[in-house]
């Protein structure tokens, strides 16, 4: 049986999430760097943030939720949905023409572009993510067995610390 530590080290989900996180941060860095251009912020700079932010947010959630060889299991669907919602919301706000005016049609009380952002980016993830978290909690996040395993290792750590004859702290100094 492969030790869990080995599984984690080669876990492709976490590796992919880390790469995506790095790429997302690079995209955001690119957007900010472009803003320092002498001619002012180029029109493409916000697009880097509009794409980099959903990637970054999605990547760090996947990094946190991934569990060994199991990866993120059924959570891939809500993650994909939320990354898509954020990207579509931001990009739609950038791409759609500004048509707000006194004759604009309203979506749930707001002009179309604002509604996409407020209801899409601000409310839709609430309907999906916390529910997905709760529904997959025992299988994907934490079970009573997991807690007991951690407590056991914690007890072993404490015993080692107390057994230390010279009274050195269990947490060693920096090398």
């Amino acid at each position: 049986m492969v030790p869990t530590s080995e599984i984690a080290r080669v876990d492709p989900t976490r590796r992919s999430a880390l790469i995506a996180l790095f790429v997302g941060i690079l995209a955001i860095a690119g957007g900010y760097t472009a803003a320092f251009s002498q001619g002012g912020t180029p029109t493409w700079a916000p697009w880097l943030l509009a794409l980099g932010i959903p990637i970054t947010v999605g990547a760090i959630m996947i990094l946190g939720a991934a569990r060994g060889a199991r990866g993120v299991g059924p959570l891939k669907f809500p993650f994909l949905f939320v990354v898509a919602i954020l990207a579509i919301g931001f990009c739609a706000a950038l791409a759609l023409p500004a048509t707000e005016g006194s004759l604009s049609g309203l979506w749930l009380g707001l002009p179309a572009r604002a509604a996409v952002v407020i209801y899409g980016v601000g409310l839709l993830p609430i309907v999906v993510l916390p529910i997905a978290y709760a529904l997959t909690f025992e299988t994907q996040t934490l079970s009573a067995e997991d807690v007991e395993r951690v407590r056991e290792l914690g007890r072993a750590y404490k015993a080692r610390s107390e057994a230390s004859l010279d009274g050195e702290p269990a947490q060693p100094d920096d090398e």
Binding site: G52, I60, L106, R113, G122, I126, L129, P130, E138, D173
Partner: protein
């Protein structure tokens, strides 16, 4: 979620006097409840664990409401609606991340920190960094970075409390600061975080009730959201554009800083240690997100509603954007609702102050001594003493210089984000992260934030529109963390204890 902005906005605005009998009566009642809860909690505080993490015995509902309370601060009630009034819907990008931040924090940090607390009896955020990297140096540096941020938060919080209490009771700013800080200190020093949590529960419920009632009132008064939008669109259509009057880069930058940055906010992250049963985390993100939505209803409705009321002539033009909430409350809403909201603002500032005082005391009495290899023997006694010192120092600083205090309050959120997010949030989920990477990242966040904020404050440097010191520092901190960890990756496996490794793999 919006602490740094909250304080500066409360400082800049001289809140109008609300000292009417109903407001004073509700204010007195509010403080009486605080005193009663504090007296009860003080009797239950017997150990350092009780004092700093509530004995890790807080129930799900109490912890959720308390976490909402400390996450919001007075910005949601005063500065935020004023910001919307000034720049339109672009200001919503500060609060929109609330849709993802709670569940993101749950997946990335909550389980691992709660389990680390279970295994190691950890009580602070630097504790977790120290355990993850087996490094007192990383723990100490994280503690120093947090302390710098807390100094800023505390001074501005003290001033914000003074402004609000002066508005309610008309006692003057100086007395307002000392009354607010005195009451906060009384319950912080006697009951520690236990008193703080149960006061936060009361304060959070008060804030939610005030927010929902104001939201319903504004919709009713304005004839519904559609009618409010029509009024604005007829006069100022850009206000209801997806970015408001902000540039797209500025609005998106808010989203980035307030989403990813949430993973480094100690007042919220610290709460993960306190939950009685780790398995109760199951419902925590859902409940907290719903709570935040309720509390933030006022933010949106007052900002948009007051804009429409002013444009339609139902409300006189505002002297300053931050007058949006006071103008609505004192001129349009029933006075009891105004009283509730003013008490809610006082609650928000006191709740944030208590949380930061407690975290600061833990840093001074727990993290820094550990980093220096000289742990304190009686952390409870020292914790109480340091709590008083921090509170008094904050109150004195708040009275000294408005501009200095405003400067201190600017960088809190960004400093926590840039120093803690990579080392803590990524580090607890990536075995390849190294001690050197963590230390370099924390140092980068600290130095870049302080340097850029100071340069901008002294007008030695101007950022392009949409770029902030917080965002630049956080990006730099991430990149340094990845780069240094990659360069030193051969040392990564040796920095993990078996129990920490298990916590990271689960």
């Amino acid at each position: 979620m919006t602490g740094a902005l909250s304080h500066s906005s409360l400082i800049q605005v001289a809140l109008p006097s609300a000292a009417q009998p109903a407001v004073i009566a509700v204010g007195v009642l509010y403080f009486a409840v605080i005193v009663a809860i504090s007296a009860w909690a003080a009797r239950r505080t017997r150990t350092a664990s009780d004092f700093f993490v509530g004995g890790k015995g807080i129930g799900l509902i109490a912890l959720t409401v308390a976490s909402v309370s400390v996450s919001v601060s007075g910005f949601a009630f005063i500065g935020g609606p004023g910001f919307i009034y000034a720049v339109g819907l672009g200001a919503m990008y500060i609060v929109l991340p609330a849709a993802v931040t709670n569940v993101m924090g749950a997946w990335v940090l909550a389980k691992r920190m709660r389990l680390l607390g279970e295994a190691r009896n950890l009580i602070t955020i630097p504790d977790a960094i120290g355990a993850r990297y087996r490094s007192p140096a990383a723990q100490g540096l994280a503690a120093i970075a947090m302390m710098v941020g807390i100094v800023g938060y505390m001074a501005t919080n003290a001033l914000a409390m003074g402004v609000v209490i002066n508005s309610i009771f008309g006692v003057g700013l100086g007395w307002g600061i000392w009354i607010g800080m005195g009451i906060t200190l009384a319950y912080s020093a006697s009951g520690g975080i236990l008193a703080g949590i149960y006061n936060d529960v009361f304060q959070g419920l008060l804030m939610a009730a005030a927010s929902v009632l104001v939201f319903l009132f504004v919709l009713n008064f304005g004839g519904g959201l559609g009618e409010i939008s029509r009024t604005i669109l007829a006069h100022d259509p850009a206000f209801l554009g997806p970015w408001g009057r902000l540039t797209p880069l500025a609005a998106l930058s808010f989203f980035f800083v307030f989403s990813m940055g949430s993973l480094g906010q100690p007042q919220a992250v610290h709460k993960y240690y306190m939950l009685r049963d780790p398995l109760q985390l199951k419902w925590y993100p859902l409940l907290k997100t719903l709570g935040l939505v309720l509390v933030l209803l006022l933010y949106f409705s007052v900002g948009v509603g007051v804009k429409a009321f002013v444009l339609s002539g139902r409300l006189a033009p505002l002297g300053a954007p931050d007058q949006a909430t006071p103008a609505l409350l004192l001129n349009v809403t029933p006075i009891v609702l105004a009283a509730l909201v003013f008490s809610g603002v006082a609650a928000a500032t006191m709740s944030a102050a208590n949380s930061f005082i407690n975290i600061g005391a833990a840093i001074v009495t727990h993290d820094l001594p550990i980093a220096l290899g000289r742990p304190v023997k009686n952390e409870l006694l020292w914790g109480r003493g340091v709590t008083v010192v921090i509170g008094v120092a904050a109150a004195i600083t708040a009275q000294r210089s408005g501009t200095t205090v405003a400067f201190l309050g600017i960088f809190g959120w960004g400093l926590f984000a840039s120093t803690l997010v990579p080392a803590l949030a990524v580090g607890l989920n990536w075995e390849g992260a190294t001690r050197a990477g963590a230390i370099a990242s924390i140092a980068t966040g600290l130095i870049v934030t302080l340097a850029l904020e100071t340069a901008a404050y002294r007008k030695a440097f101007t950022f392009p529109a949409g770029v902030t010191a917080s965002a630049v520092a956080m990006v730099a901190s991430f990149l340094v963390f990845f780069l240094v960890s990659m360069l030193t990756r051969r040392t990564a496996p040796s920095t993990l204890d078996p129990d920490v490794r298990l916590v990271m793999e689960l």
